[in-house]
Symmetry: C2
Subunit: 748 residues, 2 copies
């Protein structure tokens, strides 16, 4: 309520991006742009086999080569473990130890005077492989008698988890209709503009890493653990990062680059290609069997699902993603009875990792596709079917989770109204579809920051949130400027250097504006309070009588600049005020999960070319719940960008394998959407109820928009053509074949 | 009183220097060791004339030279003023504008691919000079009809100030004896191991400077003002500095290096030679006429002094040094009547700057030499004469100044007892002398700092005090370790980077342990309090029941590490606690000046070789008032180092000029003390009354030890040989000549 009355001067405005000029003029420095003195170039020699025993590696000839500085193999890990990984499994070798378990796994690393020399040295490293049988998909992996990728994982199951509510068998008995479908979602690549790039230096001061990560403090923690250093001796530098989407969450290539630099005794830089980045991490492929029981009127009564996640070679964040599918398969619907089983399965493929809305688009692909299968069968309007089953604000989605904090029906109606919904097929025959996602975002707590007011009134912010392109520097600057009542131009966010920047958990999981934003709001308010106290002393007036505006304190018709107040406080010698803010455990609600519910609603209208199977998106409406949009244009940009990314996996994206090898790992072969794919009409709706836990009632977004796209499009195709497709991507060929099958079935 | 009862575990111990290993192994990086990518080498072309009009400078031939990147002259200062300087006079051209006003002044600057090319380019810069008459000493400068060095300065007087108390004429009337002497103290060089070195880079992020300064925030301020940037856009980096002693206080070569880098459009490094450093700044030479009225019993009744400081070409800190002589000429003695006039005089010589105990050794040279002239004439023991006139604790030294905070007689007796004083000549004929300094150190307020406790319990300190060799990193680490109850090894002081490090006024003026130490004590206590609160919550116990020790909190027989407490507070996601400390105006006493009195007491025993005039120091006892010695060995090191520096100006040091040129500006020609000059017996006494304003009752030292050396030695020579010398240095030739004169006088 207080928030509602507050009049904002900076927050809520779509100000110019604070990093905009540097980015469009090319001045913004990304990791690969940095010049580190004496740096050597590193390259990883990768396994050509999806599964092979490494009998021996002979590096002598390579090491003797002119220009080669160091060659690293697992044999160099004598004083430390060669395994990393955030899970207790610790099954992620920093470099292959005695087996290669996916094609593309690093088996040796070379540091040389230049990249050509490093690549030439690859020809002089003699690896004696014994090829072993490999498993690429989850069915192969879980088959009886398949060899285990990791000794401890029976049937290659890395992790499994279950959600049970009510009695699902009883539910099915009560149902009028039961629907059983299997959906598949392929492996896809994050495709951030900047592939993984890292520079490492190991010297008597400790370990320094410059890296394109979204988790500078996570990387610090992992490096500290692997190399046995205190946190204070690991220095991670990050400034601009060219996108991440989960591909840069936690240590990726950094530990290996550090190990190589440690052996080389000089700084080493590794700049990966797109192919190498595709061999570093990707999204979980999912195979999902869904069985849903429904009353004739459309009331959902039971849902059973088996979800198999292809997690690849290492545990990585697989169990977290797997756990998250339990909520995300539910969508925004009320089910009295549930039984969801989710399995995280190892395969001989590149390890899956976090990816924008982990497990979200994959499970929504199943649930939201099936909702329209149900509607079609029951003769119901798909919008009406959803509205009937939508969980209400304050109602439970998942047992023991925080009740829903949003009015879903209101948002959904805004979206379908904007699309002009009057049925799933328009008058001119276009197909229409909707999709809905309601997810428990990661949004972990733990951000700290400091805000510094200098003696000339300029403001410096130490904030560990990474500018990944999402506009973090801008929105964080807005929050601080708002709290301190200074113009945005006065505020400068420093690059991240963990030697100085206070701790932040990570950038991602829709957390930064909400959690770091809160830390900055508190740090700014702390500094503001100090200014108020100095001003009260200066004016000999109570704090309530002081007004702060544009870097000045005013009272009794007089004004004084913040700088003057600071100078005076510090004996006219300069000085500085430091505000401190923590977003700690106390910020969590009870129950603590989720911090907020993240909403993604999409509605689409498509033309399907019956001759070619090519689908044209005429109109797309997306909606996100911003709580309070601190920078509306950036919120829309996040939501629309997320939806556009969804068009990628909807129409184009998939890893393709042949004999265990990825065969489309180049920018030519792996297709992503371009500006040509932007829908003719494209609308983003921001829901602002002011009820988020972040600053001024904000909540996270950016992960919702991607969720509903694929099922909305598939539903639109199905309603307008009768062709129901249960695997992605919806390539023209696949759509064309589905159209032919649909024709055959209809003519039967 | 509370301090007395506190039991310290780290403070008060002479722990190993935290930077010791890096220094003795050569790993510590000084500014000249840094490798900045793309750096160009800069050199300054200097005036060969002490005074000359610059008719024109033709740089075209130099600019056309291969390898020359930029040539800078005052003509390049089109958008900004070419003048710098902290005083309102702003009479310090960053580069000579239309006149050169001392030999060695930069008239052009070259940035080139290497230093040889830059030097070669000097031959192709054509400067058309018109030589003008120059003044080197204050008498010449103040003579009638001497041309003005700066238009506004009549008789070349830059600044003058006066101290009057009682009625000095009346005092002289009441006196039984009146003594009138003139003393001279030459220009001397700071001779820090590292000459001035700076690297600058100007790009779209702002201005970055890596420099060997003791005033990173002062340099930031000056660069911001000169180049019109907000403070937040100036980034000054400092880590290790090889000594300063005042030569690196405030901007020295940095503005010119920045201007050159700005023109060169790439980073530029300037590494000065010793000769160039000698042409950058030096100590004020002083000519001092002292007239003192004394009763027969030795009671001082009146003092009149005229002090002329040769301040060189620019104002710099001349007025501050001049002002400080008013107190420092007084010594520790009670005078009912005073009239002190002090004049800061421009000359055509390199500008004088701050130098360890500004104006202290020079004025003590006069006052303390004359005390023994008085004693000798009145037939009094020089120790007894001093004891008779010493100001008592709580008594006023100078009107309106804070009363004396130390028991001088107690300290003085400790020193003379340690020397074995039983008269000014020992039984075996050695001369003995004493000297005394009581000074109002600069010790300006305004330090801020943050102390960070990380989630593994390691502690990071952001502290703007520069490690100049004085041991700042060690003592600051001790304070934080003490406050947080962690081992010293856990604490890491970060290098200074003004982009991140909170404001500190400066390093110097005996301020750092007292003022920054207080800020760190408060920041550490703030972090400690946060740990206590978390522990109280953890143990469900009152804070008083918690004991903190070795990084763990204990209560009820259980313990928990700081790291665990932090993790728990931050939802098991990591986290960090930030403690904040300010030493602001509120720390000052009333009256605010000085923050504390700094004491220097010295007593010496010498052998004078009557054949050669060579003086051998058999024994030296020095004493400093530490308040509380936080690191006794470092305190002794400071005090002894200060005294050794005093032996430098006592026996060896002086700038020598010929035709306006310094003729001894090389390491061969300019002599400083070596280990051979260390007295056979050398003792340092630390007075610890626990009454300082710094942490745990500490106060600053390091500037006191240098003050009494020269007069103590001169007094010892005089008592044992009858030769009274009133100018420094006491070279063998000068002593020998004085011995000859003394013989003549005695034989008359």
């Amino acid at each position: 309520m207080i928030q509602e009355q507050r009049k904002f001067s900076i927050v809520g405005n779509s100000v110019h991006r604070v990093d905009g000029v540097d980015k469009v003029t090319g001045k913004a420095k990304y990791t690969g742009d940095l010049v580190i003195p004496e740096v050597a170039e590193g390259k990883f020699l990768r396994s050509p086999y999806a599964h092979a025993r490494i009998r021996s590696i002979d590096t002598r000839e390579a090491e003797a080569m002119a220009g080669v500085i160091a060659v690293l193999t697992s044999k160099d890990f004598t004083d430390i473990s060669p395994y990393m990984g955030r899970s207790k499994n610790k099954d992620h070798p920093i470099i292959a130890v005695d087996r290669a378990i996916f094609a593309g796994q690093p088996v040796a690393a070379v540091a040389a005077v230049d990249r050509a020399t490093a690549e030439e040295a690859f020809g002089k490293i003699h690896v004696d492989y014994e090829e072993l049988p490999a498993v690429i998909d989850v069915d192969e992996a879980m088959a009886e008698n398949t060899p285990r990728i990791h000794d401890f994982a029976e049937r290659n199951i890395c992790f499994q988890t279950e959600l049970v509510k009510g009695d699902v068998e009883k539910g099915f008995v009560e149902a009028d209709e039961i629907f059983e479908d299997t959906f598949e979602f392929p492996m896809i690549y994050h495709y951030s503009m900047e592939p993984h790039t890292a520079i490492a230096q190991v010297d008597s001061d400790g370990i320094s890493v410059w890296t394109s990560t979204g988790h500078p403090f996570g990387v610090r923690q992992e490096i500290a653990e692997i190399f046995h250093y205190p946190l204070s001796k690991i220095r991670v530098h990050v400034n601009f990062v060219g996108g991440a989407y989960g591909s840069k969450s936690g240590g990726k290539i950094e530990p290996l680059v550090v190990a190589l630099a440690r052996k080389a005794q000089r700084p080493v830089r590794v700049v990966q290609s797109v192919s190498e980045a595709m061999a570093t991490c990707r999204r979980h492929a999912i195979k999902c069997k869904v069985k849903t029981g429904v009353k004739k009127d459309g009331t959902l009564v039971a849902k059973q699902a088996e979800i198999y996640l292809n997690t690849g070679a290492y545990t990585e964040t697989g169990p977290i993603v797997t756990g998250r599918t339990l909520t995300r398969i539910l969508g925004p619907y009320r089910y009295p009875n549930l039984k969801i089983n989710s399995y995280c399965v190892y395969t001989n493929t590149v390890s899956a990792a976090s990816f924008r809305s982990i497990g979200g688009p994959q499970t929504a692909w199943a649930t939201e596709s099936q909702m329209d299968i149900i509607a079609q069968k029951l003769g119901l309007d798909p919008v009406a079917l959803r509205l009937k089953n939508l969980v209400k604000k304050g109602e439970e989605i998942r047992p023991k989770f925080r009740p829903l904090d949003a009015d879903l029906a209101k948002g959904f109606k805004l979206v379908v109204d904007k699309l002009g919904w009057d049925g799933p097929v328009s008058k001119d025959g276009r197909g229409r579809g909707v999709g809905f996602g309601t997810t428990d975002p990661g949004a972990p707590l733990a951000s700290t920051s400091t805000v510094h007011v200098l003696a000339d009134g300029s403001v410096v912010v130490l904030c560990g949130t990474v500018e990944l392109g999402q506009g973090a520097k801008t929105v964080m600057s807005q929050i601080v400027a708002e709290e301190l009542s200074v113009s945005l131009e006065r505020v400068m966010i420093r690059p991240i250097d963990t030697a100085f920047t206070p701790f932040d958990r990570s950038t991602g999981s829709s957390r930064s504006t909400t959690v770091m934003g809160k830390a900055l709001e508190l740090a700014g308010a702390d500094a503001r309070q100090q200014i108020l106290e100095l001003a009260a002393e200066h004016f000999e007036a109570p704090e309530e009588a002081i007004t702060l505006k544009d870097g000045e304190a005013m009272a009794r018709g007089k004004k004084v600049s913040y700088g003057e107040l600071i100078h005076h406080h510090f004996a006219m010698q300069g000085g500085e005020l430091v505000g401190r803010g923590y977003a700690h455990g106390g910020m969590a609600p009870d129950p603590p999960n989720p911090l907020f519910w993240e909403i993604g609603i999409g509605a689409v209208e498509v033309d399907v070319d019956r001759e070619t199977g090519k689908v044209h998106v005429a109109k797309y409406v997306t909606a996100a719940d911003a709580g309070k949009a601190l920078h509306p244009l950036q919120c829309e940009g996040q939501d629309e960008g997320s939806a556009m990314m969804g068009f990628g996996h909807t129409f184009y994206e998939s890893y393709y394998f042949e004999a265990g090898q990825i065969i489309n790992s180049t920018m030519v072969d792996y297709k992503v959407p371009t500006f040509d794919d932007v829908p003719d009409e494209f609308e983003s709706i921001l829901i602002e109820d002011g009820n988020g836990p972040g600053p001024y009632g904000s909540k996270g977004l950016g992960e919702g928009g991607i969720i509903p796209v694929a099922p909305a499009v598939a539903n639109a195709i199905a309603w307008s053509t009768g062709a129901r497709i249960r695997t992605l991507p919806l390539t023209p060929e696949k759509v064309w074949r589905a159209l032919q099958n649909a024709k055959k079935e209809q003519s039967r």
